[in-house]
Amino acid sequence: MKPTMMQTNRPALQGLRREPNPARAALRRRRIPQPQLFLTVEMLCRGRIRRRRRLSGMYSSEGGRETKPSAWDLWSQQFVGTGTSTRTWFQEKILTVHLFGLLGAAPTASAPWKLDPKQTGTPNGRQNISANAPIVLSDSDSDSEGFREEPTPTHSKSNGKASSDSLKTGGKASSDSLKTGGKASSFSNGEAGKGGKTFSAGKGGKGSASTAMPAKSDAELKLELDMPSNSRILMNCEATELLQQIHEHMAILSEDPKIKIPESFDRTFQFAKEGNHFTSAKSVKEVLDPLKKSGVTDGEICMIANIGPETIEEVYALVPSLKATRSLNEDLITEALTALANIKAPK
């Protein structure tokens, strides 16, 4: 074997190299500078094999060459995989874009530039949401953009691409899904400290998400009244009475074809009637007004009236915010409950 430039640099390789053909040897002798612009596929593959062998420690006599991986290497390995170094990953990426585009070969599973979804993580190290098993609920018509989960579309996106954008997409996907989480602001709980909380929405074609809600926090979720300005809260009983009056007027009004009543009126009227447990709204108000003095908010009073609880434990279980001032309001609530029991309408 004629000793060539490359061979003399790697004495350990002598046994592994095949007989080089003269054309190739001529190429080498021309001493093409890095980066190699003129590469054959074979040279590329060989280089990759050699590099892989070197990094996996096959050439143990070159112990000195293989230095300890730097912090950059360790970080980048989560995107690149442990098989190669980052420098080679970038180089190969640039090459594959051009070469594989020309040759038309698809990237293989062993290709180091291909993002392995299991290893991909966001730079902050937060759990990648797309790693969760997607659940597809494919039935209804409305779309599901706002729910915090958007794993499947972004997941498949990052898998398909074999370009330098794939890294960006991986990072972008998680920030997108976090952004949509921000958009659906009513879903972002006050208890934001619990990480990894996801909702399943699954409506429409896009919908696919998985739930991982800790059940403990659900029970403790407090009522958050998001009332617009200039509005007064109505208990179900009060609303039922008002709607009843309107319903009576409606009989006359509906004779005029031009007058339009909102669609949801009928259904809501039914809902209010079913939800109303009491005979008279006025008496309910009288019973529950004293509670306001001991710090029970309007919303909480409304909840108590709407639920129609039977025991005090039920009240505390369903309206957890009252537990905070339990010592103050327990007696009053018990009294109120007994009074309400008297005016409850028979079902």
């Binding site: 706002g146 399943s200 509005s231 669609e263």
Partner: protein, 175 residues
Amino acid sequence: MVFLLADMSWNVLISPDQLSSKGLLLRKSILVRLLEDIANRKASKEHGYYIAVNELKEISEGKVRELTGDVLFPVTFTCITLKPMKGEILVGSVEKILKHGVFLKSGPIENVFLSEKTMNDYKYIGGENPMFMKDHSKLEKDTVLRFKAMGFRWMEADRQFQLLATLAGDFLGPL
């Protein structure tokens, strides 16, 4: 869902052919137009579902729009609305049962989703009549149950709310 009695103001646009000389007819046409507008609007993110107009407070002076000839009347009124609140206890009936959850219907809201994961101990039983079962209680179509609203979302495109429910907690479940 909480009922609200909201003070609202709206600009009612009356076209010239309805502006007759008789003052009463004008008032009626404003009211009709207002009811029509509210019915078309169905719901808003701020107030929730519009249920019914309760009381007309004031019809202010009309302003003529120069190019079209329409007259704009700012109207203030009170309206009964229904808005879902986070953390609320609600009652709904089962609409559809799927392997991963149940769709419920409550009042005007038709899209209430209850995930299987929040239904502790309920197991899905498929077949011709799918249901969720736990010990002696069953969740089938039209079962009425009490749930807690985890959160809701306003969908601008459909102009309606979507609600996420949970059964995790005491005193929740079929009634």
